[in-house]
C-alpha cells in the first residue's frame, strides 16, 4: 500500500482518524471496507465510522490507543480488497421540471440537451462508498467525469428529500430536506432514510445504485 499510506491522527481524546489520500478510488475503498470490518470487533473500539478513504475509530474509556494505532497500521499493510457485491438498487427518477430545476442549466454547462444529460446520468452504475453527513446520505462513486459540475456559488437553504443531485465530481440523493449547494437535476420517490424502519438507511457501503429514467420534463 506504498502509494496509499495510512495516516492516523487524533480526533479528540476518544477517537482516531485513519485516512489515505485521494483521488476517490473504488479499489482503495474496498481495502478501507476490509480495514473497518477487522477493526470493529477489537477490544477498545466503541464504534467505527466509514468515510471516503477513511475510518473514524471511536474508543472506549479503557482503550489502549497506542495498541490500536499499531493494529491499524498492521491491518492496513495486509488489507486486501473486500469483494462485497452489495445489492443493486434501482431508483426511478423524474428529471427536470420544478423538482429538477438545474437540469437545464447543468445540460447547458456541458453543451448537452436536457434529455441527453438525463440519459448519461441514468446510464451509470454508482457504488456507495460510505454513508454520512446527513441521515441516510450516501457518498456515491461512479459519476461520468464528463458530468462533473462545480457547486452553486451559494447553497439553497432548503432542498427536498429525494432530490437527485450533482456536486463537483459526485452524484447523490438528498436523504433529508436540508440546505445544499449541489445541483438538483431530478426527483425520486424512493425513501433513503426512515427512523422508524428496522434499518433506517436504505443504502449500505458496497451497494450499487442505478437511476432509472422515468421522464424528462421541460
Amino acid at each position: 500500500m506504498a502509494d496509499h499510506p495510512l495516516s492516523i491522527s487524533w480526533l479528540g481524546e476518544a477517537a482516531l482518524l485513519a485516512q489515505t489520500p485521494g483521488p476517490m478510488s473504488l479499489e482503495v475503498q474496498r481495502r478501507v471496507w476490509t480495514l473497518e470490518r477487522q477493526l470493529a470487533p477489537l477490544p477498545g473500539v466503541a464504534d467505527t465510522v466509514l468515510g471516503v478513504h477513511s475510518v473514524l475509530v471511536m474508543m472506549t474509556d479503557d482503550a489502549d490507543p497506542e495498541a490500536l494505532i499499531a493494529r491499524l497500521h498492521a491491518f492496513w499493510s495486509n488489507a486486501t480488497a473486500d469483494p462485497r457485491p452489495g445489492r443493486l438498487i434501482e431508483v426511478p427518477v423524474s428529471y427536470g421540471g420544478d423538482t429538477g430545476p438545474d437540469l437545464g442549466p447543468v445540460a447547458d454547462h456541458h453543451g448537452l440537451s436536457p434529455r441527453a444529460l438525463a440519459e448519461r446520468h441514468a446510464a451509470g452504475t454508482y457504488t456507495v462508498f460510505a454513508l454520512g453527513s446527513q441521515p441516510g446520505f450516501a457518498y456515491l462513486g461512479g459519476l461520468d467525469p464528463a458530468l462533473a459540475t462545480p457547486r452553486l456559488d451559494s447553497p439553497r437553504l432548503h432542498v427536498e428529500a429525494g432530490s437527485v443531485v450533482i456536486g463537483g465530481a459526485q452524484a447523490g440523493v438528498i436523504s433529508c430536506s436540508s440546505p445544499s449547494g449541489w445541483h438538483i437535476i431530478g426527483r425520486t420517490e424512493t425513501v433513503f432514510f426512515d427512523p422508524n424502519r428496522a434499518e433506517p438507511a436504505l443504502l449500505a457501503p458496497g451497494d450499487r445504485l442505478r437511476f432509472v429514467l422515468q421522464e424528462v420534463r421541460p
Partner: protein
C-alpha cells in the same frame, strides 16, 4: 404534566444523544452542555439517559399542570416560581398551577429543566434527543412551541414537597465556571500550520460569531492561513472538531453537526471542556490551549466523579421515598 407557555428563543427535548448511528449519517444531537443535564438528572436520582428540556438564553415560561419534581441547571437566569426567586442546581416540587419564568441568562447560553424520571417520550433510534435535521426524536422531531405539553415518567419522587441542592461552598465550579483556556487535542492538519500560525490560534482572544448555533460555533478573529492547502475527502467528524474552512475562520462542530466533513481540522475540543464552550456567551473572549489525550481523559474522569458524588449525596432523598 408540564405545559410550555413560552419556549423563549429556542427550546428542544434533549438527553445525552444517540450513539452507534454515525455510520449511517445520524449524529448524536443531545444536550449542548451535557454536564449540566447530567447534574440535574443526578440530583433528581434520574437515570443518566433521562431526557429534559434545553432552553436557549432563557426568556421561557412553563406551568405545572400536575405536581412535578424538577431541577434547573445551567447559568443564572433570574428564574422565579410564582414570583419567588428560584435558585439553580436546586430540586423542588412544582405544585399544580405554579408557573416558572426565566429572565435572560448573561453568563451562559443554555438552561436545562430536568423532571422526575425524565420526560415521557418514546425513544427513537435509542434516544429521546431531538434530531432536528432528520426531524425525529424529542417531541415530533421539532423545536418546542407554546402550548406543548410534556409528561414526566416519575413526576414525584415521594409524597412530601422537595427542596434540596448542593452547596456553593462544596461545588464552587457549578456557580463560577473556571475561565481557563478551552483545551483541545491537535488534529490531522494542525501541523499544516507553521509555529506563527499555531501561536495565532492559541494566542488570540477569539469571540463567538452571532452565526453560532447547535450545529456549529464560528470564531471571529484573525484569518488563519496554513502553509499547505489540502483538498480532503469526506471523513467522519465529531462534536468539538475545530475545522478551518478556506475563509480562514475556524468553525467548531457542535451536537447537531453533520457526521462527516471535508475541511482541514486544527483539532478537537476535549469532552470535559465542550460544555464550557457550549455555554460561552456571544462576544465573550475565548482562548484555546493544546492538551494531551491523557490529560483530557483525566479531566473527563474527574467530571464523572463529581457527578457521581452529587448522585450519592442526594440518594438518601430518594431511598426513604417509595
Amino acid at each position: 404534566m408540564i405545559r410550555i407557555h413560552s419556549p423563549g428563543l429556542g427550546a428542544s427535548v434533549q438527553d445525552l444523544g444517540r450513539s452507534g448511528w454515525r455510520a449511517i449519517g445520524v449524529g448524536s444531537a443531545g444536550a449542548m452542555d451535557a454536564r449540566a443535564l447530567r447534574i440535574a438528572n443526578a440530583l433528581l436520582s434520574n437515570p443518566e439517559t433521562a431526557a429534559g428540556i434545553e432552553f436557549t438564553l432563557g426568556g421561557f415560561e412553563i406551568e405545572a399542570e400536575t405536581d412535578c419534581d424538577i431541577c434547573l441547571a445551567g447559568p443564572e437566569a433570574q428564574v422565579t416560581v410564582d414570583g419567588q426567586r428560584q435558585p439553580r442546581w436546586w430540586v423542588r416540587t412544582l405544585r399544580r398551577g405554579q408557573r416558572l419564568r426565566a429572565g435572560h441568562a448573561r453568563d451562559g447560553m443554555r438552561i436545562y429543566l430536568a423532571v422526575g424520571g425524565g420526560l415521557d417520550l418514546p425513544e427513537v433510534m435509542g434516544a429521546r434527543a431531538t434530531d432536528l435535521k432528520g426531524g425525529f426524536g424529542g417531541l415530533e422531531g421539532r423545536m418546542l412551541r407554546a402550548g406543548d405539553r410534556l409528561k414526566a415518567l416519575r413526576p414525584r419522587l415521594g409524597a412530601s414537597e422537595l427542596g434540596f441542592g448542593p452547596s456553593p461552598r462544596a461545588f464552587p465550579d457549578l456557580w463560577d465556571a473556571p475561565q481557563t483556556p478551552l483545551r483541545f487535542i491537535p488534529g490531522a492538519e494542525w501541523d499544516d500550520h507553521d509555529a506563527d500560525s499555531q501561536a495565532l490560534f492559541t494566542g488570540t482572544d477569539w469571540t463567538l460569531s452571532p452565526q453560532s448555533n447547535r450545529i456549529g460555533y464560528r470564531l471571529d478573529g484573525p484569518v488563519m492561513t496554513p502553509r499547505i492547502r489540502r483538498e480532503l475527502l469526506s471523513h467522519g467528524i465529531l462534536p468539538g472538531t475545530i475545522q478551518l474552512p478556506p475563509s480562514g475562520q475556524p468553525v467548531i462542530q457542535m451536537l447537531d453537526a453533520n457526521t462527516a466533513g471535508g475541511y482541514p481540522k486544527l483539532g478537537a475540543v476535549i469532552a470535559a471542556d465542550l460544555p464550557r464552550l457550549a455555554q460561552a456567551p456571544l462576544g465573550r473572549a475565548l482562548r484555546f490551549a493544546p492538551c494531551s489525550p491523557a490529560e483530557a481523559r483525566a479531566a473527563k474522569a474527574e467530571e464523572a466523579r463529581m457527578i457521581d458524588t452529587l448522585r450519592r449525596c442526594t440518594a438518601p432523598f430518594r431511598e426513604d421515598r417509595p
